[in-house]
């Protein structure tokens, strides 16, 4: 029998909007969910831009972006290796019960309104208190 009671938690702050780091966040989160943990992603600062409508795949590469040349090279190599798209990973994340929190202060700083964000991706809006509340009893916390 699968024990579904009181699972461990993983909470990840997604500060970076870089494509490769969004991959890291989603892969770790999906791994955690697959191994029976709960997972929450807190999108803040540059990470929040990826929650804008149509913005998920738009992040630059954190290194060797070379005006998009490096990114397209990495993307073609990922395609060859059959790596899932960010959209696919996000869909799995939601299907396995992952939670997405958007940082309200970042929205204010960046002049982003709720209408600018993809509502299908976001579960709630919050601030640092929401993060600490979940992170304090998490087995894994990461800042990406």
């Amino acid at each position: 029998m699968v024990d579904e009671t009181k699972p461990d938690k993983a909470t990840i702050i997604v500060h970076s909007g870089d494509m490769d780091k969004i991959y890291s966040a989603l892969i770790v989160a999906n791994g955690a969910l697959s191994m029976g943990m709960e997972a929450s992603l807190y999108f803040t600062f540059w990470g929040l831009q990826r929650l804008q409508k149509g913005g998920l795949e738009k992040g630059p590469l954190s290194k060797m972006h070379y005006m998009g040349l490096g990114k397209s090279m990495i993307k073609s190599r990922m395609k060859k290796a059959n790596v899932a798209s960010l959209e696919h990973l996000f869909k799995d994340f939601k299907e396995l019960g992952g939670k997405v929190i958007a940082c309200e202060m970042t929205m204010e700083i960046m002049g982003v309104s709720k209408e600018d964000l993809d509502q299908n991706l976001i579960d709630e809006y919050g601030a640092v208190g929401t993060y600490i509340h979940e992170a304090r009893d998490s087995k894994i916390t990461l800042f990406i």
Binding site: M1, V2, N30, G31, L33, S34, M35, A81, N82, D92
Partner: protein, 73 residues
Amino acid sequence: MADIKIDVKGETCPVPLVEMRKALKKAAPGEIVEVEGTHPASKKEIPMAVESLGAELVGVEEEDGVWKIRIRK
């Protein structure tokens, strides 16, 4: 033999693990889920996940680079 069969041949990290989890969620208690794939790390990691999920690992086989893992929910 298996109640639910999933084919993740050619898929890479983290898809085999995720698909196993999705199938196990859909399965009824006692049902057998069979996962077939080629991603080497997943052959080790799916049994780890099965253990943390409290499910039962029924068997792991491999032939010509294709592994088959059977899990009872």
